[in-house]
């Protein structure tokens, strides 16, 4: 079943944002809890080596520039995702110049002992299956689908994050879904 997203702040958002701009620690906790879990899972699915660090760095930037932000809760979430994604892109550029192999959190988790062997095996199979399907998508298709499914963003919000128009985002989403169907129906991956 699709995991429910965190409860949005809705009409409380303006008050929380104002308190955060004034330095209220409780307000930052509210904003962090509303956005950070989705951002973290998106970064992990993209294969970012240290997703938690990226999330922390993202929110530090948010704190620095929040005075210049204007918009509602959806715009705030889009803004946070934009910052996080740009950090990932910058990190990938740096790594492409000076390649450094770093084991991801997922790889470290796989090698670590766990309590329930059956659950671990099932989770590993599921993760391997998902990673195999995602590997057959282009970078842009994977990015759009991850933002859509794991990040919970709309087409319009995704277009702002990735810097493309909504038609292009919709086409990337449709091609990605078609590629996933094709991969599953081919039977190469046993669900």
């Amino acid at each position: 079943m699709h995991e429910p997203l965190p409860e949005p702040l809705r009409e409380q958002f303006p008050r929380v944002l104002a308190a955060a701009c004034a330095g209220g620690e409780w307000a930052w906790r509210e904003l962090y809890d509303a956005v950070a879990p989705q951002l973290t899972r998106y970064l992990r699915a993209r294969g970012v080596p240290e997703p938690d660090d990226v999330v922390g760095e993202t929110f530090v930037k948010v704190v620095r520039y929040v005075e210049g932000f204007e918009g509602d809760e959806a715009a705030f979430r889009t803004w946070v995702f934009t910052i996080g994604r740009n950090l990932v892109v910058d990190d990938l550029r740096k790594r492409s110049r000076r390649p450094v192999h770093v084991a991801t959190d997922e790889q470290l988790v796989k090698g670590a002992p766990h309590g329930n062997a059956e659950d671990e095996a099932m989770r590993d199979l599921t993760t391997a299956h998902v990673e195999d399907v995602l590997a057959h998508l282009s970078v842009d298709q994977r990015d759009v689908l991850l933002l859509r499914i794991l990040g919970g963003l709309t087409i319009g919000e995704i277009s702002l994050v990735v810097g493309k128009n909504e038609g292009a985002v919709k086409m990337l989403q449709a091609r990605g879904l078609a590629a996933i169907r094709k991969r599953i129906s081919a039977g190469t991956v046993t669900l």
Partner: protein, 312 residues
């Protein structure tokens, strides 16, 4: 390629339909129509659960950053990353240290005006004390006069061009005196060029080299007292070399005048008067214009209108 230049893998793909299907799946509807896709979405959410990251550490960093902003208004330095592209990356000072353009202009004006005001203050103080060089003192005095202030002009300290110098005593070493009515100087020593027009009553002058007093009275010891038209009452002149007083009167105790060309004086006891024909003691060449009346109101010693010389 198809006849419509559409790639084969995109034929039959409608982005709007695909978007609607995915929205329905994310909302929990239409799973039966797209079972494979629904199961993939579930697997994706299971593989990457929405767990919170290390929130305690992050919140601590956020609190520190927020506190830093509350203290200084802005971070001192911005990161070089272009992750937030629209915002400029140049470092800025905290907000409370920023100044408006008006403040900057005022500061620049103050920086320029302060030395000027200080310069005027120093000039004013030194000018009021008369301690400036002559040219600068003149300039300062004139400038102060424009605004109604009366500052010394710098001429008071020199003996030149005295119009009514009276009663100087013990002047020594004046270089050039051109007083028009110098009266009563006593014990002048070492004046080199004196052109007193109505010099009267100088006593014990010694060593004056060139005196051109028009009505010199009582000069003593002029070396070249010449062209004194109304020289009267010189007493105890010693060593005057050439006296050309036109109306030298009452010279007393003149000694050693070498070329006295006095007209109409009254040389009594004249010693060495240049124009004296009697009582010549040491006069070398006396030219007298009238030789009568020597001894009383006489002019026998060259003083044409001299009266009262009784010791020459």
């Amino acid at each position: 390629m198809s006849p419509f230049d559409v790639p084969p893998n995109e034929m039959g793909i409608d982005p709007e339909i695909a978007n609607d299907e995915l929205e329905a799946l994310l909302a929990g509807h239409g799973r039966d129509k797209n079972l494979d896709l629904a199961r993939f979405v579930d697997d994706l959410s299971t593989a990457f659960p929405a767990r919170a990251p290390a929130s305690a550490e992050h919140l601590a960093a956020i609190a520190d950053e927020a506190q830093l902003l509350a203290d200084k208004g802005d971070p001192v330095a911005r990161p070089p990353s272009n992750a937030v592209a629209p915002i400029p990356r140049a470092s800025r000072l905290p907000k409370r240290w920023r100044h408006t353009m008006e403040d900057r202009k005022a500061r620049i004006l103050i920086k320029i005006a302060a030395p000027v005001v200080a310069l005027f203050a120093v000039l004013g103080i030194m000018g009021s004390a008369g301690a400036l060089p002559r040219a600068l003192q003149h300039l300062t005095s004139n400038a102060a006069g424009v605004v109604g202030l009366n500052l010394p002009t710098g001429d008071e300290g020199n003996d030149a061009t005295d119009t009514s110098d009276q009663g100087d005593q013990n002047d020594r070493g004046g270089s050039s005196s051109t007083g028009t009515s110098d009266q009563g100087d006593q014990n002048d020593q070492g004046d080199s060029t004196s052109s007193d027009s109505t010099d009267q009553g100088d006593q014990n002058d010694q060593g004056d080299s060139t005196s051109t007093g028009s009505s010199d009275q009582g000069d003593q010891g002029f070396s070249t007292g010449s062209s004194d038209p109304t020289d009267q009452g010189d007493q105890n002149d010693q060593g005057g070399s050439s006296s050309t007083g036109s109306s030298d009167q009452a010279d007393q105790n003149d000694q050693g005048d070498s070329t006295g060309t006095s007209n109409g004086g009254s040389p009594e006891n004249d010693q060495g008067g240049g124009g004296a024909t009697q009582d010549n003691q040491g006069d070398s060449s006396g030219n007298s214009s009238s030789t009568s009346g020597d001894g009383g109101s006489g002019s026998t010693s060259g003083d044409s209108s001299g009266s009262g010389d009784n010791q020459n």
